[in-house]
Symmetry: C2
Subunit: 458 residues, 2 copies
């Protein structure tokens, strides 16, 4: 900012911009432009000499005009959308406070908030003897789970590396690519992660899993880890966790539950017992997906205390950091040294809505998905892939391919919908994740898709 601005005046102008773009009701999603065109139009080059505040804020507003508005119900391309405002307020506070969450010395009371949130999530997940850690996202949480599984299978692996024997891990073909990434990162190799087929409703085929494990054992591999997905990305399906758990127990394999997406269903009375989360040795849960918390708010929860210590091995170096109140220094069991307080936004939302409020909100999302499925079957020119198990509704038009529908929705209507390949067709994927979504929006969207499909195909 310029020298003649006061701090308050500068931030007030920023606040006006945020208010206009993100706090009022009627902003459209964005102006659309292909990236190469936009790159030529916008002046975003970094100058040798600083520019004045007016010019900077003008540039910023241009940027925002071409930035999708993730608060709008029309933003449905990711597994998050919309927001709980108390959580966003918490994130604004986190930003301005900018404490590093490795030590009590650096973060003070913020450490206690993180502990409270982790304890709450452990309680909700029915892991009373467990421990947890915040991570920068589901991929990181899933990575840590595989690291714990490695230490379980190869004690001392953190210190000495893999032992030269051939290990195998298992996940379903519908799982998130974070599991593949973890296998590559951890030194197992992506090819040693076996992709187990799914049934047509998107769940892991347990019989196939048992057969693959057996075949691998015969071939001299050592199975050590199974990932079960609680809420797949495309169909929102939940793997048969109890059955998978009995295989894991029999073979002494680590069972990780990737509930990055579906973990929030633990807050639904009706759903939580169907998830089987207490069967897992570890559990990933992203509150930034279904709970309206800003990016990122992800945890790894572990059934038994002590595994984080085993897998992380308190570093020999770093004694200039971890000096006071060792029990209150979460940095020792983290793959981050400096990190923000991602728990505060969730804490604010939980204070504001209460556990009961979140429960009602989750039921509403599930009901909305069922309503959307019904609306789709009412349109005789649309095909529903399968009844939604959670909040994902996959369907297609009989007249127009889903890829074209998505492109037109994006470029002309400011609506971000994704498509996915299922069996031999490409399906539209509608995710009822935004609390501002309502029946009228669903009606409008399905009618719009019907209209686009019939117009374009005629």
């Amino acid at each position: 900012m310029d020298n003649h601005d006061t701090l308050e005046a500068f931030y007030r102008r920023i606040w006006e911009i945020l208010d206009r773009h993100y706090c009022r009701e009627a902003m459209p999603t964005e102006q659309f432009s292909p990236p190469d065109v936009l790159d030529r139009q916008m002046d975003i080059a970094i100058p040798a000499q600083g520019i004045d505040t007016d010019t900077l804020l003008e540039k910023l507003e241009t940027l925002l005009t071409y930035t999708p508005n993730t608060r709008q119900p029309g933003y449905m391309t990711t597994l998050f959308g919309g927001r709980v405002d108390a959580a966003y307020a918490g994130k604004l506070v986190t930003t301005m406070a900018n404490n590093a969450m490795h030590t009590y010395k650096a973060a003070g009371a913020q450490i206690l908030v993180e502990r409270e949130v982790l304890d709450f999530m452990l309680k909700v997940a029915d892991l009373p003897r467990g421990e947890g850690a915040m991570t920068p996202g589901g991929t990181a949480s899933n990575f840590i789970a595989m690291k714990l599984a490695r230490e379980h299978a190869v004690p001392g692996a953190e210190m000495h590396g893999w032992d030269g024997r051939r290990y195998r891990a298992y996940t379903s073909a519908a799982s998130h690519y974070a599991i593949e990434a973890a296998a590559g990162n951890i030194g197992l190799g992506e090819r040693n992660l076996v992709s187990v087929p799914v049934t047509t409703n998107g769940k892991m085929d347990v019989q196939a899993l048992a057969e693959r494990i057996h075949a691998d054992q015969q071939a001299g591999f050592i199975p050590f880890y199974i990932n079960a997905t609680v809420g797949t990305s495309v169909l929102g399906a939940i793997d048969p966790v109890a059955e998978i758990a009995s295989i894991a127990r029999r073979e002494n394999l680590w069972l990780h539950l990737d509930a990055a997406f579906g973990g929030s269903l633990l807050l639904s009375h009706r759903m939580r017992n169907r998830l089987g989360c207490a069967y897992g040795d570890s559990l990933s849960w992203d509150a930034h997906k279904m709970m309206g918390i800003p990016l990122t708010c992800s945890v790894i929860l572990i059934k038994e205390k002590g595994w984080l210590d085993k897998a992380f091995q308190a570093p020999a170096q770093g004694d200039y950091l971890f000096q006071t109140y060792p029990e209150y220094n979460p940095g020792r069991n983290s793959n981050q040294c400096a990190r923000t307080n991602d728990a505060l936004p969730l804490w604010m939302a939980l204070q504001n809505l209460g556990r009961d409020g979140y429960e009602a909100r989750t039921e509403r999302q599930l009901a909305l998905a069922r309503y959307a499925a019904k609306r789709i079957t009412d349109h005789t020119d649309m095909v529903l892939y399968t009844e939604p198990e959670t909040i994902n509704v996959c369907f297609r038009s009989r007249h127009l391919d889903s890829e074209t529908v998505c492109r037109i929705l994006d470029e002309t209507h400011g609506i971000k919908l994704s498509f996915a390949r299922l069996d031999h067709h490409t399906y539209l994927r509608l995710v009822c994740v935004n609390p501002d979504m309502d029946k009228a929006f669903i009606d409008n969207l399905t009618d719009k898709i019907h209209y686009i499909a019939t117009q374009e195909s005629s």
Copy 2:
């Protein structure tokens, strides 16, 4: 928030809180309380029923009262402190916009900002043929570097894992514990990371490095990676990169430069040629450390294009995500799927200050460290460990141990200073990282330490 609040009114109240705590000049660092005492005092439990806005904001303010204020010059316990306000404004925008940076579809113009910032940093680091990626912090950046090195040494490791042979990596005893963490995470094992001794000025002993590599080769190990530190955590020392590079070249080892702390010195005309950053195959650089950008803003830069593709292996799954404009979808080469735009805060700061402005700022920080060293030698009851090479000044009182000095500064004076073991003494570590720090502050601090030491020891 309550139903009777409008969005604007709710956010305005949050804004007033932030203004009071973080935009006015005279706020003290914090009220100090030990964590167990504070835990009993504060009511932070998560309720079943949501609480009203007034109560929530009261709780929030209590939290902030016991949260160290990282903007104050007295906050010196980490390698960041203070702030560039334009960057914080950028982070506030990032928060409210909440775009996921994996695809153009999800993030629009924000993708172009990230590309611009990475291109700028590659240019500054003199890596014109390189590529880069944003990560959630220096530990993650250093991890990716070791992953690239693994793929270089064991082609196909990402797909097939380690090949059963015994590999070794090298770093100095003064390097960040992130390097140890990477060795554990990647499946090499922390014990296969050789800790090379440092000379008394904190730099890697190159002769010792050459000897260790040779001895390991004789013993049947395969050396594959060297980490050189550009700015060590305690002394701010810069390893002799050019000499290390000639060993790395001769033995065909990957040379990574952990410039998480010192990378920002690339913006100093006088320093940049002394760093040797162009010698590295990869470079970590955290803009959230010396550049006043909020947590986290970290990049991994790679000398040659194509390595990120090789090391990440575009996942087979995820086709429901990476659908349009493939060249503008950075998610494929990242260990994060959903992540915030950490580049926007840096872009805002670079627009505001310009490259020249940052250069002046960096020179000022370096000069301040030299001034502090002089002030300390003027106090005959204090011992300077060594002349500062960059912005870290390590010293001790002859009368009182550094640990006690730190405790009194923290609990009584609201000043967060760290101590570190060097040779046979414990030294205070003063980091001139905050742009709001000035000579008067240094004078005051050294006088205060002199006073505490003489009072307590008498």
